[in-house]
C-alpha cells in the first residue's frame, strides 16, 4: 500500500458513513438532526462574568450567547432592538429605553426596569471591581419610570450610550447573588451553559424557551486553540468550523486545501504611529510630522505584508464604519521627495534619529510592519531604532509610566464605533495624548457635550481634518480580521472582534 492510498480509503469511509446517514435519515424521517457548531478562539476564556472582562473576542463573545444586552449590534454594524424595543435621547443628559414585555431570565426572574437598574448599580459599585466600569461610569442615576421603561441619567452628554449598551450583558439579580458568575452562567440569551472547562472549551446548547429568533445551531462549542498553525490545522482537519485572527498570508494556503474557505473583512482598529510631541525630537515640529507622514508608502506595506487586505486610513483614526468618519479626507500620498524637502527645511536633513516602540503579541504582523516603516523612513534620511517590547510592558510605560519613547506603533479602536471615544485620546489632558493642542481639545469637548448627531457630525469634520493636518500622528491602515470556515457554514464576518454563533448560518 503506498502512502497516498490512505486518503482514498478515508474518502470511501466518509462516503459510506454518509450513505449510512442518508438511509438512517430516510428511515427516521423525524426531526432534523442536531446541528453543531465549533468555534476556535485564539485566547483563553477566563471568566463567564460579563462585568469582569472587557475582552470582546473571547470572554464577552462567549457570555453574549448566554446573556443579552438592551441593544444588539448586528453583523452589519447597525444597532437593532435587543431587550429594548426602542430608545431615545431625553435632552443632552439622559436616555430612555423601552423594554420588551414579559422577558424573563431562564430561571424565571423578571427582566424589567428594576433588574436593569440593579445591573448598573452592580457595575458602579466599587466592591464589584467591575472591569467594564469605565464604559458606564458616566451614568449617574438609573430611573425606573415604569416596569417597562428605564431612564439612564448621565453626567454630561453620552451620545453613544445606546452603542455602549450593546456591550452591557444583563444578569439576573437573585441568581447572581447566590452563584459565582465567574464559573457558571444563567441569563436571558439564546443559549445556556452546559460545561465550562477553563483553558479547553465552553459548551453551550440552545434554549428551548428563548424569546427571540431561534439560532441556527443547537449545540455550540468554543475551543481554545492559542497557536495560529494549530487553529488552522484544526479547521482543515474538520475539528472546528470557524477560526479567526491569523496572518493574511495563510488565507491562500487555507483555500488551497480545497476543504475549507478563508477570507477577511476590514477591522475597526486603526494602526498608526504616535509621535511623542511633548519632548525632543518631535516637540513643536509640525514640518517633521508632515515629512514622516509623506515618507511612508502605506500601499506598499498593505500590499507587501497584508496581501492588500488592510484598509488604508483616510488620514484619520476612524474607518468608514465609525460615526464621525470624514469622507472628505483622503489617504496621504507617498511623496519621499517632498518629505526630504520638509526635513531639510526643519533643519534635520539626514540627522534625525528616532526610537520606534513596537508592542509585540498584540497586533497582526507588528514586527514586520515596523521594520518596513523603519526602512522607508531610512530612505528619506531618518534613522529609526526599533524597540520591541511585550504588550503589557509597553502599556505600562505608555499609560502608567507616562513615558512613551520618541514614537510607537500602536492600534486604537473604540468599541462603540463612535468618534467621541477615539478623538478623546488626542485631547491634551488625556495621558495617552502626548500632544498639547488647546483648539483641538476645546472642540473635542464641545462635540462630547451634546447628544445631537448633526452638531456632532459637523464638529467631527473639523476635528478629523485638524488631526490629519496638524497632529503628531501617522495614520496607517485598518488591519483586516482574517477568518476561515468550513464549507457547511457562513459566518457574517464582522470587523469588531465579536464572534457569535448567532452570526453564523448554515448553507
Amino acid at each position: 500500500m503506498s502512502s497516498t492510498s490512505l486518503l482514498p480509503f478515508r474518502a470511501s469511509l466518509a462516503m459510506r458513513t454518509s450513505l449510512l446517514a442518508l438511509s438512517l435519515g430516510a428511515a427516521a424521517a423525524g426531526p432534523a438532526a442536531a446541528r453543531d457548531l465549533t468555534i476556535a478562539l485564539s485566547s483563553n476564556v477566563n471568566t463567564l462574568d460579563p462585568f469582569k472582562s472587557t475582552t470582546v473576542g473571547t470572554d464577552l463573545s462567549v457570555a453574549a450567547h448566554i446573556y443579552t444586552p438592551l441593544v444588539d449590534r448586528g453583523p452589519d454594524m447597525k444597532l437593532r432592538p435587543g431587550l429594548a424595543t426602542k430608545w431615545e435621547a431625553v435632552g443632552d443628559t439622559a436616555w430612555r429605553f423601552t423594554l420588551r414585555e414579559g422577558v424573563t431570565f431562564s430561571n424565571g426572574e423578571k427582566l424589567d426596569a428594576e433588574a436593569v437598574k440593579w445591573n448598573v448599580e452592580r457595575v458602579l459599585d466599587p466592591k464589584t471591581a467591575a472591569r467594564n466600569k469605565p464604559w458606564f461610569a458616566s451614568i449617574s442615576e438609573v430611573k425606573v419610570v415604569s416596569p417597562g421603561v428605564v431612564e439612564f441619567v448621565t453626567k454630561g452628554a453620552y451620545p453613544d450610550l445606546p452603542e455602549q449598551m450593546s456591550m452591557f450583558l444583563l444578569m439576573p439579580p437573585k441568581w447572581t447573588a447566590e452563584n459565582n458568575p465567574a464559573v457558571t452562567a444563567l441569563g436571558s440569551g439564546p443559549y445556556e451553559l452546559v460545561r465550562f472547562a477553563s483553558g479547553d472549551r465552553v459548551v453551550l446548547k440552545a434554549r428551548k424557551d428563548y424569546w427571540g429568533e431561534k439560532p441556527a445551531f443547537d449545540n455550540v462549542t468554543f475551543r481554545i486553540i492559542p497557536e495560529d498553525s494549530s487553529r488552522i490545522a484544526a479547521l482543515v482537519a474538520g475539528d472546528v468550523d470557524l477560526v479567526t485572527g491569523f496572518p493574511t498570508s495563510e488565507i491562500a494556503r487555507i483555500k488551497a486545501s480545497g476543504k475549507v474557505d478563508a477570507s477577511s473583512v476590514p477591522g475597526t482598529r486603526g494602526m498608526f504611529i504616535k509621535l511623542n510631541a511633548l519632548r525632543a525630537p518631535f516637540k513643536d515640529t509640525p514640518k517633521v510630522w508632515r515629512a514622516l507622514n509623506l515618507a511612508i508608502d502605506r500601499k506598499a506595506i498593505n500590499d507587501g505584508l497584508l496581501d492588500g487586505l488592510g484598509e488604508i486610513s483616510a488620514c484619520q483614526p476612524l474607518s468608514p464604519t465609525y460615526f464621525g468618519f470624514n469622507p472628505d479626507l483622503k489617504p496621504i500620498a507617498y511623496d519621499p521627495a517632498q518629505a526630504k524637502k520638509l526635513l531639510a527645511e526643519a533643519g534635520v536633513a539626514n540627522s534625525l534619529t528616532m526610537e520606534l516602540e513596537v508592542p509585540t503579541g498584540r497586533y497582526i504582523q507588528a514586527s514586520d510592519i515596523a521594520q518596513v516603516v523603519a526602512s522607508q523612513l531610512g530612505e528619506v534620511g531618518v534613522t529609526v531604532k526599533l524597540r520591541e517590547m511585550e504588550f503589557g510592558a509597553f502599556m505600562n510605560k505608555y499609560i502608567v509610566g507616562k513615558n512613551l519613547g520618541d514614537s510607537a506603533y500602536f492600534g486604537l479602536g473604540w468599541p462603540t464605533l463612535d468618534a467621541g471615544g477615539l478623538l478623546n485620546f488626542w485631547e491634551t489632558e488625556n495621558p495617552q495624548s502626548y500632544w498639547g493642542n488647546a483648539n483641538f481639545t476645546d472642540a473635542a469637548k464641545a462635540a462630547r457635550s451634546t447628544n445631537d448627531p448633526a452638531k456632532r457630525m459637523a464638529l467631527y469634520k473639523t476635528l478629523t481634518k485638524q488631526l490629519c493636518e496638524d497632529s503628531p500622528s501617522i495614520f496607517l491602515f485598518f488591519t483586516p480580521i482574517t477568518y476561515g470556515q468550513s464549507k457547511g457554514i457562513a459566518w457574517q464576518a464582522r470587523g469588531d472582534d465579536w464572534v457569535r454563533a448567532m452570526d453564523v448560518k448554515t448553507r
Binding site: 477566563n46 490545522a233 484544526a234 482543515v236
Partner: protein, 306 residues
C-alpha cells in the same frame, strides 16, 4: 524517615520559599495589572480604584507578608482574571499536566531506557550508531516544530488523531510523543554512556572472570550501578515536564499548568503566577525527594551512610 531525607525536605521548603519570593518581587516589577484589566481609555481614578480593590495599593512589604502568611494556609488570593481562588485555577489544570508529563516520562523511560541499554550492549555496532543518531536528532528537534509536523501528518493528512484539545486518549498521543522526544533521547544517551563507564570497572571484569553469564553481569552489575545518574536525570526531566511544557501545551491546545502560567505572566495575574510557581516548585522538590529515596534503594552504600 532517614535523617538525610529530613534535611533534604528542609532544604526543599527553603527552596520553595526562595522561588516564590523571587517570583513575587519580579512579577511586581513587570508593571501595573490595572492598565491591562481595564479597557483602554480608563481614567487614572478608575485604575486607582481597581488597584485598591485588588490590594495593589498597599506597601510592597505588607503585600509580601500577607501573601506569605496566606500562602502557608494554601490561600494565594483571588485571580485577577479568573475571578476565583488562584490556587484552584492552578490545581484544576494539574491533572492535564500530570497526565501529559507522566505519559512522556513513561515513553522516555521505556524507549529511552531500552535504546540506551541496547546501544551500550552492542557497543561499536550499527545499533549503537543508529541509537546515537536518532537520540541526537531527538534532542535537537524543537518541540514546536515537531508538534506542528505531527499535527499536519497524523491529524490533517491521515485524520487518525485529533489536531489538539483535551479529553480522550486520542488527544494525548501526539502531545505525549512530542514531549517525550527530548526525554527519550536524553535518557538513551545518558544510560548508554553511564553503562559504558561501569562496564570498564574492575568488579565487572571480576564478575566475568568468576564465570557469570553476560546477561547476569549486565542486569546486576552494570545495570544497577549505572542507574544512579539516570535516576538523577530522570528526576530533573520529570520536574521540567511538570512545569515547563508550555510550548507543547500551546501547540496542542492542552489545558496544562505551563500554558496557564505563561498566560498569567502576560496578563499580570500575580496570584495565578505565584500559585502556579509555588505548585510547580513543590512538585519539583517532591520529585527530588523521591529521587533521593530511589538512591537508597539502588545503592546500599547510600542506605548505610544514612
Amino acid at each position: 524517615m532517614p535523617r538525610h531525607l529530613t534535611s533534604r525536605l528542609g532544604e526543599g521548603l527553603i527552596a520553595i520559599w526562595g522561588v516564590v519570593t523571587i517570583v513575587f518581587v519580579v512579577s511586581r516589577m513587570l508593571g501595573d495589572p490595572a492598565v491591562l484589566l481595564l479597557p483602554i481609555g480608563a481614567t487614572e481614578e478608575q485604575m486607582r480604584e481597581l488597584r485598591t480593590q485588588l490590594g495593589l495599593d498597599l506597601p510592597l512589604l505588607q503585600q509580601y507578608l500577607s501573601f506569605l502568611l496566606n500562602a502557608v494556609k494554601g490561600d494565594f488570593g483571588q485571580s485577577f482574571q479568573f475571578g476565583r481562588p488562584a490556587l484552584s485555577v492552578v490545581l484544576e489544570r494539574l491533572p492535564a499536566t500530570a497526565m501529559l508529563a507522566g505519559s512522556a516520562l513513561a515513553i522516555g523511560i521505556l524507549i529511552g531506557g531500552t535504546a540506551g541499554a541496547l546501544a551500550a550492549i552492542h557497543r561499536g555496532s550499527a545499533i549503537e550508531a543508529l541509537v546515537l543518531l536518532v537520540a541526537l536528532l531527538g534532542q535537537a528537534t524543537p518541540s514546536f516544530w515537531l508538534g506542528i509536523m505531527l499535527i499536519l501528518l497524523f491529524a490533517v493528512q491521515l485524520g487518525w488523531l485529533p489536531t489538539g484539545g483535551y479529553g480522550t486518549w486520542q488527544n494525548l498521543v501526539l502531545p505525549a510523543v512530542t514531549l517525550a522526544c527530548f526525554t527519550t533521547a536524553s535518557i538513551a544517551r545518558l544510560l548508554r554512556s553511564s553503562m559504558l563507564d561501569v562496564m570498564r570497572d574492575d568488579y565487572v571484569r571480576t564478575a566475568y572472570a568468576k564465570g557469570l553469564p553476560p546477561s547476569r553481569v549486565f542486569t546486576w552489575h552494570v545495570g544497577r550501578n549505572s542507574l544512579i545518574p539516570v535516576v538523577t536525570m530522570t528526576g530533573i526531566l520529570a520536574g521540567e515536564l511538570l512545569g515547563g511544557a508550555a510550548v507543547t501545551e500551546t501547540v496542542f491546545s492542552w489545558p496544562g499548568v505551563g500554558r496557564l502560567i505563561v498566560q498569567a505572566i502576560e496578563t499580570k495575574d500575580f496570584p495565578v503566577v505565584q500559585a502556579g510557581v509555588a505548585v510547580v516548585a513543590t512538585i519539583f522538590v517532591g520529585v527530588n525527594l523521591l529521587v533521593d529515596l530511589l538512591y537508597t534503594l539502588i545503592d546500599p552504600r547510600i542506605r548505610q551512610a544514612s
